[in-house]
């Protein structure tokens, strides 16, 4: 394309530039001849005022700037001193207070990038400072005033997922006075936790622990509950989302919300084909074991074996699922202490059965959960009815593990308590996996005894497999709808693992709980509260103000090829009804990726236009006059 030079800036008034060169004590003055730099600045075109101060960032320096603006009717200000990263806001505020639009300000770094790094070459450093200022002037001449767009935020929240983290988030937001829509796919609240037996550390039953939270959420006047419903569509950006929520089979209704919290939870991994699962009777996963305990339908057991890391840490899933060791330990202690009152019977005649046949053993709840995990079939199955029975003698518990992740204070104590109760912890390594098999109608586990370096086999009555938490299979659809990325193994990817753990990169959308990675209940609840407070910030302020640093689309050039939309990590570009790209200013961060990518050259960046950057760079190439 034949590139014509940018036509002359026909601003209403000619640029009148003021240059303030700082000595910063001796930090600059000591290594750069500041007076000659200031004099040189005066000679540059459109510079009407140039001076030097000892400390421009000090009060007198700032008032000097204010006065100069008024006296010399300056419409551009350049401060040559330290780094803009720390001091630019200060000087911009000064300009604003003197009635000058703060985007008509340019910073020239002659300390960190000049005096401090060229201490032994004073004249070269001085020449470089002059060049840097000439570059700053070239840029300043092309600056344009900018207005920072304010976008209202609808003070209404949306929480997707009614598990502990979702409920916490909804409750916290509601308490702060924000109306919240809580959408839960199942018929009731509670998510993964409600099906568990008792919870470690508190030792109380799962249902009891979360009952108050469920009641609070159900009763809360600010929370609109959408059970058996799911989110069908999401349009808009931070503060202005239009969300379509539809009950199962019902038609979609649209709601206006300001922020969205994703708390869709996770599922337990089904260890098909591992350690005889679904092949031998009495081989269950950790959660299935907890359900048996809760419903008191345990068979007669003398010996139980837990196997850890089934399907995780490289076997199927790459990651460690963080919580299974502590849950296994809790269950080991539980069974060691009050195994008797969890006994149950599986046959109608009331006799205690020692083997739960593979097809019969699963209670209706377990089958329904397996169906849910494998696909969405909803056909029900006959319900095994519940019968109570008497005690049997003490029970032997072994936990085969690769490492015990009992992190933190309480878990370590629980781990010690388990060992006190003679729960055996046998370590195994990847090259000597325990083997589970049936021999003359007796379940057996062979394992490699690390210290004795020989293989041993022990009879067991039940094997409990600790499998990892895995991402919801339909997380992909939600991620496409919300335009938020999925990270490793299908969990949601937060903005920054350390500093912004519950934010998404896209403003206005937050994430909490196991949907972004395995977490125990405490952590899920904490993240729920965190997400609520993050979501509350923009809703409380009522508006979002973005730095006037965004892309601008030239309608006459854009043909709607959509490449900008592809590259923008923030979903800050979309197409209008005529098929032409338009910028969502509130969502745009001003990184400039779309500008540099646009195949039609139709996108420019406010405050960092090509012309400004080229002028600044080419000024450096001019020989010092």
């Amino acid at each position: 394309m034949i590139h014509m030079a940018e036509t002359k800036v026909n601003e209403s008034e000619k640029p009148r530039i003021g240059v303030f060169v700082c000595s910063c004590g001796s930090n600059i003055g000591g290594f750069v001849d500041v007076p000659s730099v200031a004099d040189y600045a005066k000679t540059l075109p459109d510079v009407v005022y140039a001076t030097q101060n000892m400390y421009t960032c000090a009060e007198d320096g700032l008032s000097n700037i204010r006065e100069a603006i008024r006296k010399h009717n300056l419409n551009r200000v350049i401060v040559a001193s330290c780094t803009p990263r720390t001091h630019a806001p200060l000087f911009q505020a000064t300009c604003e207070s003197a009635g000058l639009n703060k985007y008509l300000f340019t910073f020239v770094n002659i300390r960190e990038h000049c005096s401090w790094v060229h201490m032994k070459e004073k004249d070269l450093a001085t020449k470089k400072s002059k060049d840097l200022i000439r570059m700053g002037v070239a840029r300043a001449r092309l600056l344009k005033p900018q207005e920072e767009a304010k976008v209202e935020v609808e003070p209404v929240g949306l929480v997707i997922g009614g598990g502990v983290s979702g409920m916490t988030a909804a409750a916290s937001l509601a308490d702060m006075g924000f109306p919240v829509h809580l959408v839960e796919r199942e018929g009731d609240l509670g998510g993964f936790v409600k099906i568990l037996n008792n919870l470690y550390v508190t030792e109380k039953s799962a249902a009891e622990t979360i009952k108050p939270l469920i009641e609070k959420v159900t009763a809360h006047k600010n929370i609109t509950l959408h059970l058996n419903s799911s989110v069908k569509s999401v349009e808009g950006f931070i503060g202005n989302y239009e969300v379509g929520i539809a009950p199962k089979g019902g038609e979609e209704k649209k709601y206006k919300v300001g922020t969205i919290v994703v708390a869709t939870g996770a599922l337990e991994f089904v260890p098909e084909g591992l350690y005889g699962y679904n092949q031998y009777p009495n081989v269950v996963t950790l959660t299935e074991f907890e359900i048996l305990c809760r419903k008191k339908t345990l068979p007669k057991l003398k010996s139980v074996a837990f196997i850890q890391c089934v399907g995780s840490r490289g076997q199927k899933m790459s990651y460690c699922s963080r919580i299974c060791c502590n849950v296994a330990i809790k269950n080991a202690i539980n069974i060691a202490d009050n195994y008797e009152d969890m006994l149950g019977v599986m046959e109608k005649q009331g006799t205690l059965v020692d083997k739960i046949p593979v097809e019969k053993k699963a209670t209706e709840e377990i089958l329904e959960r397996r169906r849910r995990r494998r696909g969405r079939g909803t056909e029900g199955e006959g319900d095994a009815e519940e019968v109570k029975l008497g005690p049997s003698e003490k029970i032997e518990v072994t936990v085969f593990n690769r490492d015990v992740m009992a992190y933190g204070v309480e878990h370590e104590l629980t781990y010690n308590k388990a060992r006190e109760k003679r729960v055996k912890f046998n370590r195994y390594t990847l090259d000597h996996l325990p083997k589970v098999f049936m021999e003359d109608n007796q379940l057996k586990v062979t394992y490699f005894h690390e210290t004795l370096k020989l293989e041993r086999t022990m009879p067991v009555d039940m094997v409990v497999l600790s499998t990892p938490l895995v991402a919801q299979p339909d997380a992909g659809d939600l991620s496409k709808m919300l335009k938020v990325p999925l990270g490793q193994e299908g969990f949601f990817l937060e903005a920054h693992v350390k500093l912004r753990p519950v934010d998404f990169a896209t403003d206005g959308i937050y994430v909490a709980g196991t949907c972004k990675g395995p977490a125990d209940i405490t952590e899920a609840v904490t993240q729920g509260a965190a997400a609520a407070s993050r979501a509350a910030t923009p809703m409380a302020k009522g508006y979002v103000q973005a730095e006037a640093l965004s892309s601008v689309v030239d309608e006459t050039k854009c043909t709607g090829c959509g490449t900008c939309i592809e590259v923008c990590p923030y979903g800050a570009l979309r197409k209008n009804e005529k098929g032409i790209a338009e910028v969502i200013v509130a969502a745009c961060k001003g990184c400039g990726c779309c500008g540099a990518t646009c195949p039609e050259g139709a996108i420019t960046m406010t405050n960092y236009t090509d012309a400004q950057l080229l002028a600044e760079a080419k000024a450096a190439l001019q020989e010092e006059v």
């Binding site: 043909t559 709607g560 592809e566 005529k578 098929g579 032409i580």
Partner: protein
């Protein structure tokens, strides 16, 4: 229609000119047609041609109207990008499974605007231009492609998604799947065309190695204005204009070791044409054609060849090129050849290989799937008397798939195959054809103009340059405009509904659409307003895309101003539009066939089988015509046996009334309403006339002692002697081109070379020792007839070429014949004393042709044969509607070619006879009696003879001109010529055009640009 198990539909496989012609004929004769084409759009090889011989017509100019007609015909369903998978059932009732590959674009939404292709980042070689240009991964074969639907090339597309973003009509469907259709049809016509010989199989010519060696089709693209160099002839190696171009003939034809012994029939003529066009493009270009025999055997072909030699100075060298080598520095090419015996080397800047025609790529699969036989050259097997039938009943063939042939013969065969396909299922005619129903037309006469204006964005094609809202607002300010709106795509389905709604809502009686070209979209909008009860002619278009936004992209202000002017002009004309109704003419369902030879009889029988009552008039006492005199046919079939079979069928056919010994005395009337009085006084009324009066062998009185010495015979006379065994001599001499290719008969008589071969071989068979000489100028045994030439040579017949300036001299030496001839190559003079001298004399028109021509008001060629409407695309029609032409009356030809033409006339006639009424053109001329004084200046301007001077209506003494609405084509030439302004053209009245001129030049202040 009688209850029948036949299916009233035909499947045409192959969308080239052949398939196109068959489809149009059948669709106009009441049959549903499924046109299956393997490429994304129809047009075939002819669409790639720049000009066509012998008329130098621009191929696209004459083909585009047919393409658009087929694209929009409500009886033709185009299935492009598709192949035939399975065919079962039998004649009259086939079930065909067709697999259509995915376009990955929705044909109903794609408007063909091309924004997607402009932005597609993937470039690849453009097959339409033989790789000399680039196309994108989403493409359409050429700008005038039908259907104008873009399609994605699955191999090249990297799936970046830009095309679907750019497409504002949301037509791109990446996940579009392959479709499988199961279609019931009654007959099938296969016309897949041909494959060009792969020149790489002749390494000695260096194709693919030397840059400046190109094939003829590549050179054709170079010549074309839409080709790589916009019509300039340039050397691919360095872009220079080649001064010396060499055409090498018979590349891959008449060549044993590459397995193609046949002659490809068309290469000589297209090389001559390409040489002429190259000369026209670059005056300094000097073409030379290296050939063995220059086979210009068709109608007016020799005249074309002579003009090439004399007028255009094209050099013809009779010699076969041994090899081509390249000078690496200049990339020029050195040709080694022998000329008059001595070896020569010559340097050329460009070499064009006249590659032959080989069987179609999918010939194998088609023959396997449809179970019909191929001949040993791989083409579709046909018989002499069944030129358009394959070995499988119900499956017919036309075009280059049966044998290499030129476009006129292809088009004739296409109509012939359509006739055969039609006869097969004549009982089911009209059963599957839908007649569009329109609401009652509103009467708008006298109403004040209420105009609705619809301005189109066409995505960003118009809206990106022209300020469409401003144009719409401006339209509202113009007098008569009661409603105006803008749309993203006015041609989309939903926009049609909107237009109909607005016509209702605002009681509109005029509609103006400002969008793209009326050539492709006027019929669409006319149909829409007709569905809203408005007369179709109350519609006008302003072309603000192809002739405004697209060509003034960098001047949006000027483009907007121009768009406003164009809209103002369209509105100015629309105010003066009046409803026009298409007059209907009733059609008499009978036919008159003049001439009872093989052509006449074939036509009569075929028409009768399609339910038409036929009158067959023959001036002789018996049917059979020339076929009786042929005695031998090259293929060995017995002509008499066929005459008897045909005569039997004619007698048996109750629909045919034969009038022997009669001629047509007077023929009046026009298409659908002819009245003919025969020489026996009978009067017959009929709708069409088929002229098949044949030709006659030229009696060369006074040449080579013919008529003076009894041993000098013409070819037919000699064949009769052979038949009767009277030819006893030991030595025979045949002389070719007697009375042809000279004087006022410049053209070749096409059949005599092959006739001589047959006779010579018969003599040699009877007496291998006899010495037989053939004195010739060019041996033109084209097509598969080349093998008869080879056979004669193998049996020892000696061939002596003489120069057309030095013809052989025959003297009567005491009753014995002495023939002296100088051999052209060696210059040696031969003296022969044959027992018999056989003159291969040419074919001449019948005497009574001069009387019939004025009766039917049909033109004749200089040589006295009848002149058809268009040599290429309407070979068997006359310009005057309803009169058709076949056989020797059209020009010399072989029996199978006559039969094809006979069948063609049947198909053409059925497009008229299959209807009870004909709809005449709407925009016809009309006469204002008060102004016309019958001066008749206009009459000669009409090519279609639609104007006649008749007695004045009010005052019989005075004269006036009458317009025959049935014949008038609406060109308006007469209107321009009328001095009294008495004639005008409906739809393009003077006042309407003058209003547009005034609107265009109006100096109104209102529309200066805001």
């Amino acid at each position: 229609m009688a209850v029948t198990d036949k299916v009233g539909a035909v499947m045409v496989v192959g969308g080239g000119i052949s398939g196109l012609q068959s489809a149009l004929d059948l669709a106009d004769s009441g049959y549903k047609v499924y046109l299956v084409e393997k490429l994304p759009s129809i047009g075939g090889v002819m669409a790639q041609l720049d000009k066509t011989f012998p008329t130098n017509d621009c191929a696209m100019c004459i083909m585009a109207p047919k393409l658009v007609a087929a694209g929009r015909h409500h009886n033709i369903q185009l299935i492009t990008n598709a192949d035939i998978a399975i065919v079962d059932g039998q004649a009259g009732n086939f079930t065909v499974t067709v697999r259509q590959r995915a376009f990955r674009v929705d044909p109903t939404k794609c408007t063909g605007c091309g924004s997607c292709a402009q932005k597609c980042p993937v470039e690849t070689a453009d097959e339409y231009n033989e790789g000399s240009k680039v196309r994108k991964a989403i493409f359409v074969r050429y700008p005038q492609a039908v259907p104008l639907v873009y399609s994605i090339d699955p191999e090249k597309c990297i799936g970046c998604g830009i095309c679907s973003e750019e497409c504002k009509a949301k037509a791109v469907e990446y996940d579009q799947k392959e479709k499988v259709f199961e279609i019931q049809v009654g007959s099938i016509i296969v016309s897949p065309g041909f494959e060009e010989f792969n020149a790489r199989l002749k390494p000695e010519y260096g194709y693919g190695v030397y840059k400046n060696v190109v094939t003829s089709i590549e050179f054709e693209r170079m010549l074309s204005a839409t080709g790589p160099y916009f019509g300039a002839v340039l050397r691919p190696s360095d872009g220079d204009i080649p001064e010396k171009i060499a055409f090498i003939q018979c590349v891959g034809s008449r060549d044993e070791h590459c397995g193609n012994e046949y002659c490809s029939s068309v290469c000589c003529m297209y090389s001559v044409k390409e040489a002429i066009i190259a000369k026209e493009h670059g005056g300094s270009i000097k073409p030379s054609i290296f050939y063995m025999d220059l086979r210009a055997f068709g109608k007016e072909f020799d005249e074309y060849y002579n003009r090439a030699k004399n007028e255009y100075g094209i050099r013809f060298v009779r010699s076969r090129i041994a090899a081509v080598s390249e000078d690496p520095k200049t990339r020029n090419l050195i040709l080694k050849y022998t000329d008059n015996g001595e070896p020569k080397e010559e340097v050329f800047n460009l070499v064009v290989l006249a590659v032959g025609l080989t069987p179609a790529a999918d010939a194998e699969t088609l023959s396997r799937v449809m179970k019909f036989r191929l001949n040993d050259d791989g083409f579709c097997q046909t018989g002499v008397f069944t030129p358009v039938e394959t070995s499988r009943p119900g499956v017919f063939v036309s075009g280059a798939f049966s044998s290499p042939k030129d476009i006129p013969m292809t088009v004739a065969e296409a109509s012939g195959a359509a006739a055969k396909a039609g006869t097969e299922i004549t009982s089911a005619r009209g059963t599957l054809v839908t007649k569009k129903e329109y609401p009652k037309e509103k009467d708008v006469a006298g109403q004040e103009a209420r105009i609705g204006v619809f301005v189109c964005h066409c995505g960003i094609n118009i809206g990106g340059v022209v300020n469409v809202p401003e144009v719409m607002e401006y339209a509202k300010t113009l007098p008569g405009v009661v409603y105006a709106e803008q749309n993203l795509y006015t041609c989309s389905q939903d926009a049609q509904e909107r237009i109909k709604g607005k016509v209702e809502e605002h009681k509109l009686n005029r509609v103006v659409v400002a969008s793209c070209t009326p050539r492709t979209h006027e019929p669409l909008f006319q149909n829409t307003i007709k569905e809203a009860g408005l007369n179709a002619y109350l519609f006008e278009m302003a072309n603000i895309r192809d002739q405004c936004s697209w060509i003034h992209m960098h001047e949006p202000k000027a483009a907007t101003k121009k768009a406003k002017d164009l809209v103002r002009m369209a509105i100015a004309k629309s105010r003066l539009l009046e409803p026009l109704e298409n007059l209907t003419i009733k059609v008499n369902q009978q036919a008159l066939v003049i001439g009872g030879g093989v052509t006449g009889m074939t036509a009569a029988i075929e028409l009768a089988r399609q339910g038409v009552r036929v009158h067959l008039v023959e001036k002789e006492k018996e049917l059979g015509g020339n076929l009786r005199k042929l005695h031998y046919l090259p293929s060995g079939d017995d002509p008499m046996e066929h005459v008897k079979r045909l005569e039997g069928e004619v007698r048996a056919e109750k629909n045919v009334t034969v009038h022997l010994g009669t001629t047509a005395k007077n023929i009046e009337g026009y298409v659908g309403n002819f009245k003919t009085t025969l020489s026996d006084g009978k009067e017959i009324e009929h709708g069409v006339v088929i002229l098949a009066i044949g030709g006659q062998e030229h009696k060369p009185e006074g040449e080579y002692l013919y008529g003076k010495n009894k041993d000098v015979k013409t070819l037919l006379e000699f064949k009769e002697m052979l038949k009767k065994g009277e030819a006893k001599g030991k030595s025979y001499v045949f002389v070719q081109c007697v009375g042809s290719r000279e004087g006022d008969h410049p053209n070749c008589s096409r059949v005599c070379c092959t006739g001589t071969m047959t006779a010579a071989t018969k003599v040699k068979d009877k007496d291998p020792q006899a010495d037989v000489y053939v004195l010739f100028r060019d041996i033109r045994t084209y097509g598969f007839r080349e093998k008869y030439y080879k056979e004669a040579a193998q049996k020892g017949v000696r061939f002596v070429r003489f120069d057309d300036e030095r013809k052989p001299v025959v003297e009567d030496k005491g009753g014995k014949l002495e023939v002296k001839v100088t051999e052209e190559d060696t210059g040696k003079q031969l003296v022969l004393r044959p027992d018999y001298l056989v003159l291969a004399s040419g074919t001449r028109p019948q005497h009574d042709a001069e009387e019939l021509a004025p009766m039917l008001k049909v033109p004749m060629t200089k040589e006295g044969f009848f002149l058809e409407a268009h040599m290429k695309l309407r070979p068997v029609d006359f310009a005057t509607e309803g009169v058709y032409l076949a056989g020797l009356a059209h020009g010399p030809k072989f029996v199978d070619e006559s039969i094809s033409q006979a069948l063609a006339t049947v198909s053409r006639a059925m497009t008229v006879l299959s209807k009870t009424t004909l709809e005449a053109e709407g925009i016809v001329a009309s006469v204002d009696e008060s102004l016309c004084d019958g001066c008749g200046i206009c009459v000669p301007t009409c090519e279609y003879k639609a104007l006649e001077i008749v007695a004045h209506k009010d005052d019989p003494k005075k004269k006036m001109v009458d317009v025959n609405v049935g014949l008038c084509k609406g060109c308006g030439a007469c209107v321009g010529a009328c001095p009294a302004g008495a004639l005008t053209q409906k739809g393009f009245r003077d006042e309407q055009i003058l209003a547009m001129i005034d609107a265009a030049l109006e100096q109104s202040k209102k529309q200066e640009v805001k």
